[in-house]
């Protein structure tokens, strides 16, 4: 039906629409193609080369970078840590924000926005300011956590220096900076749940939890899916926390940090751009696959 006008549109009109459409798109396309698509294509291309600091001798090396990756112990470790962060943070962020949202969405306007703002504040505060203050709180001598431990007579913990704790410290900070957006989304989704369905279920004798799972949860599936995808992407990209807190030490290296390290910091062989690009491609593939799986699962339900 919607196609109908298009077929009857005269050719001149189609041409006019196309020209004016692209004229409107032009400014945006310049930036999108220039600073997103072109670098992306170069990145994929470079991942098959030995590109480095010297632009002169770039050679095509086929899949060598990707094969090397699977033998690079540091990379595999970083991959494991990245997955640990994603697997822990995605479900907890989703569950927590769903709980908070369902506890606050019926509150009065100003109270609701106050809560929503507070849970959003760590995002707005900015990763650097947040990280700097957490670093102080985790500090061995002057940090509040160890001062409390000392106060109750327990042994202090070397939070960021001990590989048993460091990654969990990072996951905790990541958690506080990740729940803001999902809470906003869930509050709005809960507000949009079709009340007639809820009432119909109640009339049929469904209890509180049945109403929640069978009616509300089902209707919020698209929101949940979106939250899963953005939280996954965010967790994969966790970078500032690691760069500022541990520099990848104490077993907290992630793929994102390792890319940065390989391209800019690795002292003996700095500027392994081809290799770093290959890591970027692998990371993008993982994110794409995970998003696709989440879409599939959500659709089946």
């Amino acid at each position: 039906m919607a196609k109908q006008p298009q077929t009857t549109m005269s050719r001149a009109l189609v041409r006019r629409e196309t020209i004016s459409g692209y004229l409107f798109l032009l400014p945006s396309l310049i930036f999108f193609l220039g600073f997103v698509i072109i670098p992306m294509v170069i990145c994929i291309f470079n991942s098959f080369t030995n590109a480095n600091m010297h632009p002169g001798d770039v050679q095509f090396v086929g899949l060598k970078n990707f094969i090397d990756l699977w033998q690079d112990v540091t990379f595999l470790k970083a991959l494991k840590n990245t997955f640990l962060i994603v697997i822990v943070s995605v479900p907890t962020v989703c569950a927590f924000s769903l709980w908070v949202a369902s506890a606050i969405y019926k509150l009065k306007g100003p109270v609701l926005s106050a809560f929503r703002c507070i849970f959003y504040l760590p995002v707005v505060t900015g990763s650097v300011a947040v990280t700097v203050v957490w670093k102080w709180m985790y500090d061995n001598y002057n940090g509040i956590f160890n001062q409390i431990l000392k106060g109750v007579g327990a042994d202090t913990i070397n939070w960021l220096g001990d590989s048993r704790f460091a990654i969990w410290c990072i996951i905790l900070i990541l958690f506080t900076t990740s729940v803001g957006q999902p809470i906003v989304l869930y509050v709005s989704a809960l507000g949009n749940v079709d009340q007639s369905l809820v009432e119909a279920a109640q009339v049929d004798g469904a209890n509180h939890f049945q109403v929640f799972w069978r009616v509300k949860w089902a209707q919020m599936m698209p929101t949940t899916l979106y939250i899963l995808v953005i939280t996954t992407i965010n967790s994969f990209q966790c970078f500032a926390l690691i760069q500022l807190l541990t520099q990848g030490g104490s077993d907290t290296n992630t793929v994102m940090f390792y890319i940065y390290w390989t391209a800019f910091k690795l002292t003996e062989q700095a500027g392994h751009f081809g290799y770093a690009n290959a890591m970027g491609v692998v990371l993008a593939i993982f994110i794409g696959l995970l998003s696709a799986v989440q879409f599939r699962l959500a659709k089946e339900k």
């Binding site: 400014p27 193609l33 606050i104 849970f119 707005v124």
Partner: protein, 307 residues
């Protein structure tokens, strides 16, 4: 409906109490930044945590603003070179402390990114929503896919590109990729879908040209969308530490986030100074957020619809 049954009421009260405790925990880091920035060294290095400064001092801020190191503002002319092949730069204003300059840089960067994003995204979103042109579906799929791409993946080619364009170590190198990020186009498309086709048709019949239709009819109708996108871009750009870190290298070009991160790397022990820096980075953006939070919430939810 029975609302007041004992168990649900108890559950309500318990959940509100838990919420309040959680809210306080979420506020604590910010509280710790602000109070920390006014604490004396004795308070900061005391054996027991001081929940409240015993004496409010401004020494941390004085230290932060102590060194006057850069002119108030420098304008980097994009893409241009001077006779020696160096970037073309105009500087102006008195010599000010580094931290002030960082703040000026950050405001310039965020405002510029915001303006450019709003203009380009509003135009593109309108075209994608209301024009039936060849290649529209393909372009839209490309935009949706690119949104899922981690920004860091394209980082290395982007840096080389910036070097080739004479943009390296200038704020434009952070601004342009932000503008290119397709979320804004996606958001504005969502808003423009809501414009009734009849209104546009009527304008055309009345003889309004494309530009006039866009400015007098489309823009006023998507104003809330532009507001949402503006505040969203402003805050994200202010806090996009990663881009700033890889693109900016000289101290006078730093943003406030980058400046604080550098301070942190240099002085691992002076927590008071760091908290003053963190407060300077966080408070302005939090105020902006609180003023415009209604728009912000709207932007987040609209971006998710049909996401």
């Amino acid at each position: 409906m029975k609302i007041g049954s004992g168990r649900t009421k108890a559950y309500r009260i318990a959940s509100i109490l838990i919420l309040i405790v959680l809210a306080l925990l979420f506020l604590f880091p910010l509280y710790w930044i602000v109070t920390g920035s006014f604490k004396s060294a004795q308070d900061i290095y005391a054996a027991e945590p001081k929940l409240f400064p015993t004496e409010w001092v401004t020494t941390n801020f004085e230290k932060l603003f102590a060194k006057r190191s850069a002119p108030l503002w420098e304008l980097h002319v994009p893409f241009a070179q001077d006779a020696n092949g160096d970037p073309l730069v105009f500087s102006t204003g008195p010599i000010v402390p580094g931290a002030i300059r960082w703040l000026v840089n950050t405001v310039f960067m965020s405002v510029m990114a915001m303006i450019l994003t709003c203009i380009t995204a509003a135009m593109a979103g309108y075209a994608l929503a209301k024009k039936r042109f060849v290649g529209r579906t393909l372009l839209f799929s490309l935009i949706v896919c690119a949104m899922a791409l981690p920004k860091q993946v394209i980082l290395i080619p982007l840096i080389k590109e910036m070097a080739a364009l004479n943009l390296v170590n200038s704020l434009w190198a952070v601004i342009f990729p932000t503008v290119g990020w397709p979320f804004g186009v996606f958001l504005m498309k969502q808003f423009c879908e809501g414009i009734p086709g009849e209104i546009l048709e009527a304008a055309r019949v009345d003889g309004a040209n494309e530009a006039k239709t866009f400015i007098t009819i489309v823009l006023p109708m998507v104003k809330p969308g532009i507001g949402a996108l503006a505040i969203f871009t402003f805050i994200n750009s202010w806090n996009d530490y990663f881009m700033q870190l890889v693109m900016l290298s000289s101290n006078s070009n730093f943003t406030i986030s980058l400046g604080i991160a550098t301070l942190q790397a240099e002085t691992t022990v002076d927590m008071g100074l760091l908290m003053a820096g963190a407060a300077l980075a966080a408070i302005p953006i939090i105020i902006v957020f609180l003023i415009f939070q209604k728009y912000f919430t709207k932007g987040i939810t609209m971006g998710a619809v049909k996401g």
